[in-house]
Amino acid sequence: MRGADATLHAFVEGRRTALFRSAYLLCGNRDEAEDLVQTTLVKVVLGARRYGRLDNLEAYARQTLVNTFIAGRRRFWRREHAYGELPETPAEPADNDTGLMVRAALAKLAPKQRAVLVLRYWEDLSVNDTADLLGMRVSTVKSHTARGIAAMRAAVQEEHV
C-alpha cells in the first residue's frame, strides 16, 4: 500500500468513532449520523486523493462533515419535509432523561446553530476557527453559541422542574 493510501486507511479506521459522535450531535439520529459519517469519509478519500489534502485530514474531515450536514438539511432530499420545519424528534432507545432533553433542544436549533455548538464545545474549536469553517462572522458565531447554550440550559432546567 502506498504511503498516502496507508495514511488515508489509518485515518478512516481511526476517526470514524469520533466523527460519529459529532455527527450524532448534529443529526440527533443514529442512522442518519452513520450515513453522514460514511458520506463524509468517502468525500475525504476522494478529496484527499484529488487534491493531495493529506496534511490536515482532521480539519478537512471536520469541515466536510459539517458542510455535508448543512447542505443535506438545505437540500432536504432525505425526507419529504418542508424547508424550515423542525427535524424529526430524536428517537433513540431509552437513556437518561437529561440527554433526551438536550437532544430535543438541539433538534430545535437551526442546523448552523447546532454546527456552531458542536464545533465550539465538542470539537473544541475557537470562535475564529468556527467562523472560518462555517463562513460566518465572529459575532454570528458568538450569538449562535449564546443562544444555543441557553436553549440547552433551559432544557435541562425544565427537566429538573
Binding site: D31, A82, E92
Partner: protein, 270 residues
Amino acid sequence: MSTDIDEVETWLEGRELLGRALGGVSVPTGGDTAAVFAKAARLRRRRWGATTVVAAAVVAVGVVVGPGWLTYDRGGGRVADTTTPKPPGEATAKAARLAKLLPAGVGEIREVNMDAVLWPKSTSGGVRTTYKQYPYFGSFTVSRDGGVGFIRVINGYGSTEGVRWKNPCSIPGNEPQEGCTFERLANGDVLEYQTGMDDLGSLAMDERRTWGDYLTVRLYRRNGDVLEVQDSTGFTGPTSLGPLLKTLPLTKGQLRELALVPEVLGSRQG
C-alpha cells in the same frame, strides 16, 4: 481574568451538556473501511465517464427481471403483482393535476410515497399528506414503455441570505459541484441544474440499489422560496418501482418549464 474564567466555565458547561446528549447512544464499533474506499473508487470511475456502461448494464437487468411490478395498495402495503402490469403508485387528484402540467407523451403519472419506497422500515406507506400551500409537493411515478421513473416536487424556503442563491453550484469552502450548471433569470432568481447522484448521500451509498439517470433542478428565489424538482429514470434493486425508463421522464427544458409554473412553486402563505 473573570471573563476568562467565565468563558472556561461556559465551555465546560457546553461540553458537559453535549456529553449528556450523547449519553446512552451506542457508538458503532469499527465500520466497513473497505466500503468507504470502494465507494470512493466507484465515484471516481463514474466521474471519468463509466456511467454509460453502468446504465446499460442496469437496463439489461431490468429487462431480465421482466414485467413484474411492485405496487401499493391503499393501506400502503407493498405487493408483488406479476400478472397485471399495473403502474405503481396511486391515481390521486394531485397526480392528475400534475399530469395536466406535463407535455403529452410523458407517460402515466401516479402519486407515490417515495419515503416509504426508499426507507420502508422507518416510513409507513400510503401517499403523503398534501401541504395546502404547496399543491404539487410530493413524489410521482412516471410509467411509459414498460419502465418506471419518478419525479419529486419538494417545496420549501431558506434564508434570503441563502448561500446557494448567491453561490449556485458551490458552497464556499467546498469543491465546486460536478455536473452542476445554473442560470440567473431576468428577475434575479436562480435555476440550478444538477446531474447525477453524488449529492444524495446514503442513497447513493446503498450498494443494493443501482440508480438510473438523475437530473435535479432547484429554483432559488430572492425571497427565500426554494423549489426542487427531481427527475429520475428510476432504480433497480430492493423496492424498485419497475424497470428503468430509457430516458428521463422530463427533458431539461421540460423540467425548467415545470419549475417555473407558479402553482408548482406555491406560496408559503398558502
